[in-house]
Every structure is written in C-alpha cells, then in structure tokens.
Symmetry: C2
Subunit: 346 residues, 2 copies
C-alpha cells in the first residue's frame, strides 16, 4: 500500500462538480494522517468543448497517466450533440487506459426505497467488459441523411479480451461466500460472439471447480433482476449488456444515486477510473439535490483498488449507516457529504 495518492479529478458536467466535491471531502476524512493526497483537477467536458472544441487532448491524456487513479463525476450535456463527449472523453479514457473490468456492485441497503415489492435481498456484483463489444466505435453510415442510408455498428470481441474479464470475474466469485458466477449474453441470436463468450466461460471455469456457474440470455436476466434478484452473486457480461443491466440493477437497489462503479485496469499499466453510474443530471445541477453517495461509494472502490481496504470498508459502513439513519427528510448534497465525512472520521 502506497503512502501517497496522486489523484486525477475530472468533475465533468452537471452535478459532476457537486458530487465529486463530496467524494473528495470523504476521501480526505478517511485517509490516515500519513498518507499524502495530491489531487490535480482536469477541466474536461461540455464547458471545455464549447470553449475550445476539445474533448480530450493528447497532452491531457498523457498527464492523466501520471496518476494512481482518476475520480470522475459525470459527462454529458444537452448542449453538446449526443455521443461527442461520451465517445471523445469518457469512452476514450476507458479504452486508452484499457479499463477492461467495469465493476458495478449492487446492494440493497436497509431502509432504502426499492421499486420492488417484498424487498428481496440483493447483493451482487456485475463485472462488465469495458473495452470491446459494440462500444469500439466500429461502424459507419453510408449515404447519411438520405432515404438510402445504411448504418452499421460492429460488435468486436476477442478471445484475448473476453478471457481476461471472464477470469477476473471467476476470481471475484471465488472470493465471495456464495461463489456463484452467471454469464449473461444472447448466444441464441448473437451466435458468433455469444458462442465465443460461452466457450471461454466454460473453459476458464474448469480452473475454478468451486464456483457454481450458470448462463442466462440478457432478456431473461432482466426478468430475474426484478422477480428474483437474490439469485445473483457475480455476473459477467458484455459491454452493452452490462450497461443496460447495471442501470436496471441501480434502479432496483434504491436508485442511481447510490450506484458506484470502477473502470479498472487490473494490470496497473494505466490508472483506473472511478465514477458513479449516474449521468450529469442537468435538470438538477446546481440545486443541491444530487445524492453524492454513489460518488462516495466509488471512492471506496478506488481505495480498495489502491490497497486501502480498511478505509474502503469504513466508507461502505458509513454509507450503510447513513442510509439506515435517513428519515426521509431532504438533505442537500453537501449535508450528505458532511454526514459521511463525519462518520468515516469518527
């Protein structure tokens, strides 16, 4: 465990700035005195793009590499054409830093509202592939804007890319008490990619005899997310299916305001990046209504990744206790941040 953290901070757009401020507040409060925290803020997102036309200049990318980790708020604004910042900034970072494990835990905390009747016991982890699939930007449009237009999107999948994320998921499943891993794909239709995923899943599974496995088509998986979410322990899935499933998972575990994520490069070759699953929520930006818990829980994932396990656990316990204590009265972004900072320091 290193005794200093060089942290790159990308607040981004909308509520990004507000929630990241709380994340940093809690990070500072939880770190031992002798750990030096150096942060560097990057002005990236809609403002920058409007001002300069840049999404992520090469120098910034190089500079970001010099950090131990990245904390990101949220990217995207209605004033920017859809896809520009997502592809040019967020996905560019995930791909450039080879964040092949997109880690998204889902847990229904006590005293947290869920749209599901009967409050099932939810505690699972989605390991979403982060560098392949339909997210590679491989595709095109011919005769754009005419009645003869043809547009393609190519999902690219490699054994190299699938095996490494599948192996990571087995490791994580093996380390959990239930030791269960579910592959989600759509191999009855997407037969090329789907069969490759399934074959690799089965092959790697032979190295983990203690892990129970099963397979679900993505459409069936969404059913179980709402009817029987307690059946899941660890899920491994493709980039796009993981995107869809983790928003649904966030919805059933108390909402997108609580869902944390880590874009992880397990090799350490590049910094990993931590961000809430939610977006920039321009409709509530500046109102103090954003719940910073998702960002603060992402800071816990960041600490765990950097080897600060006790501090990570402290944040997670604090978040659970804070949720447990909520009485339904409205608190501002700042007040929630303060409450969590006080709990982790105490």
């Amino acid at each position: 465990m290193s005794r200093s953290i060089r942290l790159a901070v990308i607040p981004g757009d909308g509520i990004g700035q507000e929630v990241v401020a709380q994340g940093l507040k809690v990070l500072t409060a939880v770190l031992p005195q002798d750990v030096k925290l150096e942060t560097k803020e990057y002005d990236l997102g809609a403002r920058r793009w409007h001002a300069t036309g840049e999404t992520l200049p090469d120098e910034e990318l190089e500079s970001l590499k010099q950090h131990d980790a990245i904390l990101l708020g949220a990217i995207g604004d209605p004033s920017v054409p859809s896809g520009v910042l997502e592809r040019g900034l967020l996905l560019k970072l995930r791909f450039a830093f080879d964040h092949f494990v997109n880690l998204r835990p889902s847990k229904l905390f006590p005293n947290t509202a869920t749209p599901l009747a009967g409050r099932p016991d939810i505690d699972f982890l989605v390991v979403r592939e982060g560098t392949e699939g339909p997210y590679t930007g491989n595709g095109g449009s011919l005769r754009t804007g005419t009645p003869a237009e043809v547009a393609t999107e190519v999902s690219l999948n490699t054994a190299y890319g699938v095996e490494r994320v599948v192996r990571d998921a087995y490791e994580r499943a093996n380390a959990r008490p239930r030791k269960k891993l579910t592959l989600v794909h759509k191999n009855n239709v997407l037969v090329y990619a789907g069969h490759m995923w399934k074959n690799i899943f089965d092959k790697v599974g032979q190295e983990y005899p203690e892990v129970t496995t099963d397979y679900l088509h993505v459409d069936a998986a969404t059913i179980f997310f709402v009817t029987q979410p307690e059946r899941f322990d660890v899920i491994v899935t493709d980039n796009l299916f993981g995107d869809i499933l983790t928003d649904l998972a966030a919805a059933v575990t108390g909402g997108i305001g609580l869902a944390a994520s880590g874009n992880i490069n397990p090799t350490g070759a590049f910094p990993s990046m931590f961000e809430p699953v939610h977006g920039s929520a321009p409709d509530i930006a500046g109102t103090g209504k954003a719940d910073p818990t998702a960002t603060i829980l992402s800071v816990a994932l960041l600490l765990r990744h950097l080897g600060f396990e006790p501090q990570a656990a402290r944040i997670e316990e604090a978040a659970a206790a804070d949720l447990e204590a909520r009485d339904g009265s409205a608190r501002s972004t700042d007040e929630i941040g303060d409450a969590l900072a006080a709990r982790v320091a105490g």
Copy 2:
C-alpha cells in the same frame, strides 16, 4: 374482413403444443359460425431437427406463405445447440416474411401480481423493429476456438427499414388517447445507427404534430420501466433493445405467462405470425402448469390483424375478467383455456 381464415399452426417445442391447443380452442369459440377456420399444423422445432436435421425446409416456407396468418407456440430445446432453431426457424420466418413490426403490448391487469410495489398503472405498447439491427446474422468468427479468436456481430440498419417501423409506431401512437411516442436507442454510443434512428424519428414526427415525443437511452429506459412505467404509451425501438425491454415489460406486468406478441407484415405481402413472448419452458413442459393466456392474447392480436376487431376485443375482455376472477388456486393449462373459451362464447 374475410369470412374464412387459413391458419398455419406451428406448436414448436416444450409447452408450445399445450398453449397453442388452448389458443385454438379459444379461437374456435370466439369465431362467428359463418367464418370458416382451416388450420394446417407444421411439425417444426427440436423433434424435427433431431429426426431430419431440418429447421425450415424451403417447401415448408412456401407452404406457410399460402396462409392468412401463423400461430406459433414456442421454439427451443436444451438438446439443440443454442441458436440453431432460433436462427434457422424463428428468425428465418420473421425475416423471410418481412415481419418488420414486432408488436408487444404490456398491460398490468387488475388482480395480477407484479414485482413492483405500489402497483403502477401500466398500459403501453412496444413496437420493436423485427428485420434489422443485430439480428441479421451478419458477423463471423475468425480462428474459432483458439486464443486468437475474433468474433464480430454487425448491426445492420437501413433508412428504409427504420422509417417504415417508425411510421407504423407514429400511426399507432396517434390512434391512442395519450398520443405519446418514445424512441429508445443508445445514440450516445452507437452513434451511426443511433443518429440515423433519431433523425428519422424526428423527421417522420413532423407528419404527426399531435403526437408528443421523447427519447431515452436504453439503459435509462430500463430504470423507468421499474420506477415509472406509467410514463410510457408507445415505444419504438431496435430489434435487440426491443427484445430486452419486452421481457422486462412482461416481468413487471404479471409475468411472461401473459405477454402476447405479433410479428407483423403490415403490407400483407406475407402472413403475419403471432406468438407468446415466452419460450418453450422445457422445465414445465407436460406438467399442465403453463399459462396459455399469453398465447390466447396473441390470438386476439391475430384476429385484430385479420380484421376481426370485435372478436379480438372479446378475447381481451375475457382474459381481463379471468385474471380479475383468479383467486390464487392453481388451474391447469387446459382449465384456463376452457375458462377463456367459455367466456368468449358466452
């Protein structure tokens, strides 16, 4: 309205046979005396494939064309490699008969169990594109089974294909009291296909000034399906997103046992095909536990498509009344079919 119906019947696999029998029972009961119903059964599915290696021979395809409509039970069995029957039979029919409108209504009937707390008011219609997107079978695998394998799946989208389904969705939205149409895609990542969809959606929308429109990314849409399903009226979406969303929709409206669908060719050039959204459920095949309501409601869609509106409505009212009257005691597939046949005849 024709006074005879030439109906092709494909019971298929698992519970397919059982639920289709009930669909035919109710169809016979609801049809006026002077309408001649001619049915022809096709032996297609797992049994046939094991016996002959065939999924859908050309002669069968030609023969199916001679009908006014097709009623299909379910396709798929664990003894057949995943994809063989789906691609070789079910999708082959959808593509060969140009079923570009895959119609999937979702309604939460009174007295029906939903996993959602608070019982929201759900009554929406998904218009799923049925002949393009990631379902075209366009893709491949290189160095299959080796550590150097690369597998692709190509989503093919044409302005021709998107415009016709979008227009159909506007027509349906315009004919409903709320007149609201939501496009679901992922145009911040799948920028080529996504922008084409959005541009065509906006352009066709100018012809329907009374229809209110909005756009949601597919991940966000899944959140609203569980937190605010009442916000939806008509949804139009891509083949794969529609697959995922309609299973989720079925789950929140009382389960896959109630979800009907129609694979429609609105031009009438080829027969349209009606089937429950659920699969062949081999685990309960032969036990009499399958709920035939989804198939019976698919028969209602079939009748509406052929111009028998009063009979279609009669079936839907019967299903609603039957669900309302259910007291939780178990009834067999056959008993539910009998009950509905009695209601529509009465």
